[in-house]
């Protein structure tokens, strides 16, 4: 099925067709709003349907890139428009195309101002996200990687909360610092290797000294996006100010960009530096897990709490990636996917009550189990998935990461496992304050349980949460070959550099 040359381009740019359509809508405001919503919904659903071809057509036995396409762009500089997916990226494309229609649906009645522009921003956002995961040329990747932030800025800055300007500004400062350095790395690599083609760059051997500098430059960009401690403080503010759907995409897809960058660039292209810096990453990950979990414990704002928990969960991912064995890396990818589903669902859960009461302050709630039993049930499921209860999506990734990390370093596993205890504490404490207790406040008593539209938003997420928890093979099977290649190439590079004894090769692939 890899002979569908235009598939990835079509998935990437189909949302832009919707943008063109929405731009042509004329009439009074209500009419425009309604048609924009409908158009956006249809286009994103079609995009999702189209992306399902990847699910059925992807050949999981092959490690390399599939559905590849290549057009000359700036041949004299070795830059081409090039797309393709492998077992690492393919599921992220599906994650992005699945979450976007849910976001549109969740904004149906929550967004009333400038609906047309909002929908356009979301469609552009989808194009950029999908393009980023499909890009096989560093320059193309860089453009998508940076441009994805523009619609996100707009979504936070225009449809956000009261401190949206501060939040967007913070976001900007952090990412700017990272982008500049990544650009430098990109230029250096292009000059050295004479190409910006990602598969060629993966095969190119950069000198160890250069690897260190390139690694640090890329790290600056990726660490901000993950976000890793201590460059994480933009995330809680961005989440708090973003509208619900903005938070969903931010947590669900955008947070994966940094970790994806590590997997796509740092590890395969700069293996020696990656090995050298692994202890550094482990240290930052441990600090992040414990530090942000403790911070989450004392939050008074629901969204901030979940934002901090996202940082802790992503720290599991970074630790897993740099443990560099089959279980840890597959676990890290799985954790990113499951976090994409679960944290998206948790932000939607916050959105449900925010839409009704217009506050995120935890103390304002309490006792919702009494009048919103269905909501209480859904929230419970996602809470349990977030704390990594076996049988839910959250467990598999976390377990595989910790197991893989334990193989690499038992101390690191020891410390990040503490995060699992703290995770239970802050999530259950949140749940108790919102859902349990006496229903005493008058305005809470009037709240209605989930509407059919809201149930429709949660339904696919519930199915995925359980599916990924009970039969994760559906998803893990996509990864085996590509991750296997990644791990063995990494080990081979280290052996060649004399950093690893040759017998370690076989061991790591166990």
């Amino acid at each position: 099925m890899t002979d569908l040359p235009l598939l990835l381009t079509s998935i990437t740019f189909l949302p832009l067709v919707g943008v063109l359509f929405i731009l042509t809508v004329r009439g009074d405001e209500a009419h425009v709003a309604r048609n924009s919503r409908l158009a956006a919904m249809w286009v994103t659903l079609c995009t999702f349907a189209l992306s399902l071809v990847l699910w059925f057509g992807f050949d999981p036995t092959v490690g390399g890139f599939q559905f590849t396409e290549k057009w000359e762009w700036l041949p004299e500089y070795g830059i081409n428009y090039q797309m393709g997916v492998d077992g690492i990226s393919v599921l992220f494309v599906l994650l992005a195309t699945m979450l976007t229609p849910l976001c549109i649906l969740s904004s149906w009645s929550a967004i009333t101002k400038r609906v047309k522009e909002y929908m356009i921003a979301f469609l552009i956002l989808e194009t950029m996200m999908v393009g980023m995961f499909c890009a096989l040329d560093f320059v193309v990747f860089y453009i998508f990687f940076e441009a994805v932030l523009i619609p996100m800025f707009l979504i936070i800055g225009i449809w956000g909360g009261t401190r949206r300007v501060y939040a967007a500004f913070k976001f900007f400062l952090y990412t700017l610092a990272g982008s500049v350095l990544m650009l430098l790395a990109l230029l250096t690599m292009a000059v050295q290797a004479g190409t910006t083609d990602i598969p060629s760059l993966m095969a190119y051997h950069f000198s160890p000294a250069l690897q260190t500098w390139l690694w640090l430059a890329m790290f600056a960009s990726f660490a901000v996006k993950v976000p890793m401690w201590p460059v994480h403080t933009w995330l809680p503010d961005a989440h708090v100010e973003a509208p619900t759907a903005g938070s969903v995409i931010l947590a669900g897809v955008l947070l994966k960009m940094g970790a994806y960058g590590f997997l796509r660039f740092s590890i395969p292209m700069l293996p020696i530096a990656s090995a050298d810096f692994a202890p550094f990453i482990f240290t930052l990950s441990i600090i992040a897990v414990i530090y942000t979990s403790l911070v989450a414990l004392v939050q008074e704002d629901m969204k901030k709490l979940i934002a901090y928990s996202s940082i802790a969960h992503m720290a599991f991912v970074t630790a897993g990636i740099f443990a560099m064995n089959q279980q840890a890396v597959e676990g890290a990818i799985f954790q990113m996917l499951s976090h994409g589903v679960v944290s998206a669902a948790l932000f939607l859960c916050v959105g449900v009550v925010y839409d009704r009461l217009h506050t995120r302050e935890i103390a304002r709630y309490g006792g919702l189990a009494n009048n919103m039993p269905r909501y209480a049930l859904f929230f419970m499921l996602f809470t349990m998935a977030s704390v990594g209860l076996p049988g839910t999506a959250g467990f598999v990734g976390e377990f595989m990461i910790m197991l893989g990390v334990f193989k690499a370093s038992s101390w690191v596993a020891f410390f990040i496992a503490i995060g699992a205890i703290l995770g239970a504490a802050y999530m259950l404490y949140l749940y108790r304050r919102v859902i349990f207790g006496k229903l005493e406040k008058e305005d809470l008593k009037a709240l209605l349980d989930l509407s059919p539209r809201e149930v429709a938003i949660f339904a696919p997420l519930i199915v995925l949460t359980l599916w990924m928890g009970i039969y994760p093979s559906s998803f893990l099977d996509f990864m085996h070959a590509s991750v296997g290649d990644l791990v063995s190439n990494y080990q081979t590079a280290l052996v060649a550099a004399g950093k690893l004894p040759a017998e370690a090769l076989a061991l790591a692939q166990r």
């Binding site: 300007v165 403790l294 377990f399």
Partner: protein
């Protein structure tokens, strides 16, 4: 197929009752869940004869769970004698508790939810005991934790119930932390998490050394110790026991099912299941023995002074679990599981009996406000005596067979830790007799201490609550006598087969000196006598004793101050650190130096250039343009050089 039905019928019942609660109503949900459990219980008994008596262990593989490199494990049901014993214990007691709940919870507005949770719990417990790999055991392990959390916090409007529910989950998570590290360690050593493969390979690793946490360990010792931390959490052993007494916030049938008869025995089950690993490490076995014996003693001391009827029984559970552990620790795995089985019957009986008392006393749980009701609730009164006798270990009740055997194996082990366990066990036996007598006398005898309104309402429970008590009472009376031959007697080798690694100590236990066999009975009689003196003959004495020794009394009444200690060293510091990291770390330090610092710097510079533009998009786009210009320039410069 049959085994799958045993495990999944309760799940099916839970789903139907939970999601169909509007269609089914209270009655329907009760029928669905009770029927599911009833069939599961019947099949379990059939399976028990098939597997344990006839001897046909089997494993049913359902489908793959995770496969990644060498890490492969399935959803599978492993049925051997140990599992078969657990199946009949879990399903039978759960079935009784289901039926009892029909009567006990009939006033409650959320009956279907309650029944669904009970069945969900049973399902996860069955998954735990049928696991053929460590990760599925962990699934059941955390699953029962979830069910327990939901049921402790069932009355979710009560703040104390919510706090207790969270405490139970989080304290169990601390144990699970050890369990999961143990699983990782097992995978590193054995390269698999499947039980059969591990057990087959275990003897080769008897002297294997491994480096974890920068220290070189005897592999089996460190693995077993890590796994045992999980068992300590679930089975409420000393240090991780604090959640169990608080768990009494849940409805009483829950206390009977989860916090006495089944879930808390998961730790015992786990150690018995992993006996092929534990026997390879003397150190780990010694730790199990010491922790078990200490818990048996410690919990009994607290049980002597508590006033809440359910808390007394809760501490007695803690203490009895300690007995089971030290039996395992000296190598008598069959004996430990035997006590698990008999204890399940009489402890469920005691709890449901206590529930019947609480029901009769208009939800009063404090024994200081009971008394003088034995004539009004004759059946409950009788059942409570049977349960207490079985707990004390009086012949011919079932506790006699198992508890005496435990003390005998501890003595027969003839090691330092064995004697430690034996003597603490004897002391705990005396205290058990004392607090059981105290409980009965305070609850049923003496002058009525409740107000007239409550006393006017005292009534015997309906038949739907008494019928399960009859079954459990039968179990408390005969389970020990009937099972002794199979579990610990001559038939034990055929009975257990390959399921547990019972050691020679069980044989030695049958040949201990006469005084060892007699001593438990003597101290039990003394305990009963003391209880009678204190709470019937001379009721002023306990008060005077408490006044004379206020230090010891408050120390015991406050449960050795574990909760206060943990609050000081864990909970308060965690919140304080969280606040410090948030305000100080994120707020002052990172943001102060980072974005906010840069921002104020930028503002002062920008002020000189005047206002450029206000939109952030502009700034960003500007940076992009510079970036693109940079690329183009760079390439032009470099390519010009070629």
């Amino acid at each position: 197929m049959m085994y799958a039905a045993i495990v999944f019928l309760p799940l099916l019942g839970a789903l139907i009752a939970g999601f169909g609660r509007h269609a089914l109503g209270d009655k329907g949900s009760q029928w669905v869940t009770c029927t599911g459990l009833g069939i599961a219980a019947l099949l379990s008994w059939y399976g028990f004869f098939e597997v344990a008596v006839v001897g046909n262990p089997t494993t049913v593989t359902l489908f793959t769970w995770v496969a990644s490199g060498d890490l492969q494990f399935d959803w599978a049901l492993k049925i051997d004698t140990l599992t078969a014993v657990m199946l009949i214990v879990v399903t039978t007691i759960s079935f009784m508790v289901h039926i009892y709940s029909v009567g006990y919870m009939h006033h409650d507005p959320s009956v279907p939810r309650f029944m669904a949770y009970l069945s969900l719990f049973t399902f996860t417990m069955l998954m735990l005991v049928t696991a053929d790999n460590l990760v599925q055991m962990f699934f059941g392990w955390e699953g029962v934790g979830l069910a327990s959390y939901l049921l402790i916090g069932f009355w979710h409007e009560k703040p104390s119930a919510n706090a207790a529910a969270i405490k139970a989950f989080v304290v169990n998570r601390v144990g699970d932390f050890g369990f999961s590290l143990g699983i990782f360690g097992v995978f590193v050593v054995f390269g698999t998490v499947g039980l059969d493969t591990i057990f087959a390979a275990a003897p080769q690793y008897a002297d294997y050394m491994v480096t974890f946490f920068g220290v070189e360990w005897h592999a089996m010792t460190i693995l077993c110790v890590l796994l045992f931390i999980g068992a300590m959490g679930k089975s409420a052993q000393l240090g991780l026991h604090t959640w169990l007494p608080d768990a009494m916030e849940g409805p009483t049938p829950v206390s009977a099912l989860i916090h006495a008869a089944t879930m808390v025995t998961a730790g015992v089950f786990m150690v018995a299941r992993l006996s092929p690993l534990f026997v390879l490490s003397d150190t780990a076995m010694a730790i199990v023995t010491i922790v078990g014996a200490s818990t048996a003693f410690f919990a009994a001391t607290i049980g002597c002074v508590q006033n809440d009827i359910k808390r007394v029984i809760a501490y007695s559970t803690c203490s009895q679990l300690g007995y089971m552990f030290f039996a395992l620790g000296v190598g008598a795995f069959g004996t430990g599981v035997f006590h698990l089985m008999t204890h399940a019957f009489f402890k469920a009986l005691l709890f449901l009996g206590a529930g019947s008392v609480i029901h009769a006393m208009s939800d009063e749980q404090d024994m200081r406000r009971m008394g003088g009701i034995w004539k009004m609730v004759p059946w409950t009164y009788g059942f409570m005596w049977i349960g207490s006798w079985a707990l004390m270990g009086l012949p011919p009740f079932s506790g006699y067979f198992s508890k005496d055997m435990i003390l005998e194996v501890a003595f027969a082990a003839d090691t330092g830790v064995g004697h430690y366990a034996f003597w603490l066990g004897i002391a705990a036996a005396a205290m058990t007799a004392f607090y059981s007598t105290r409980l009965i006398l305070m609850t049923f005898h003496g002058k009525p201490r409740a107000n007239e309104h409550v006393m006017g309402h005292v009534h015997e429970s309906p038949w739907i609550m008494l019928a399960p008590l009859v079954v459990l009472a039968l179990g408390a009376m005969i389970a020990g006598g009937v099972g002794a031959e199979l579990f610990i007697g001559e038939g034990r080798e055929h009975f257990w087969g390959e399921a547990v690694k019972d050691m020679a100590v069980t044989e030695h236990a049958h040949h201990v000196p006469g005084w060892v066999k007699l001593l438990p009975l003597v101290v039990t009689a003394a305990g009963i006598f003391l209880g009678w003196v204190f709470y019937s003959a001379k009721p002023k004495w306990p008060v005077r004793l408490a006044e004379a020794q206020p230090g010891i009394y408050t120390f015991l009444l406050n449960k050795w101050y574990f909760d206060e200690l943990y609050d000081r060293i864990f909970i308060k510091p965690a919140f304080a650190l969280g606040r410090a990291f948030w305000r100080g770390g994120d707020g002052a330090l990172i943001d102060g130096i980072g974005p906010d610092g840069v921002a104020s710097l930028t503002r002062s510079i920008a002020a000189r250039f005047g206002r450029m533009q206000s939109g952030f998009l502009y700034h960003y786009a500007f940076a992009m343009i510079i970036g693109v210009a940079g690329i183009v320039t760079w390439f032009m410069v470099t390519s010009a050089g070629h």
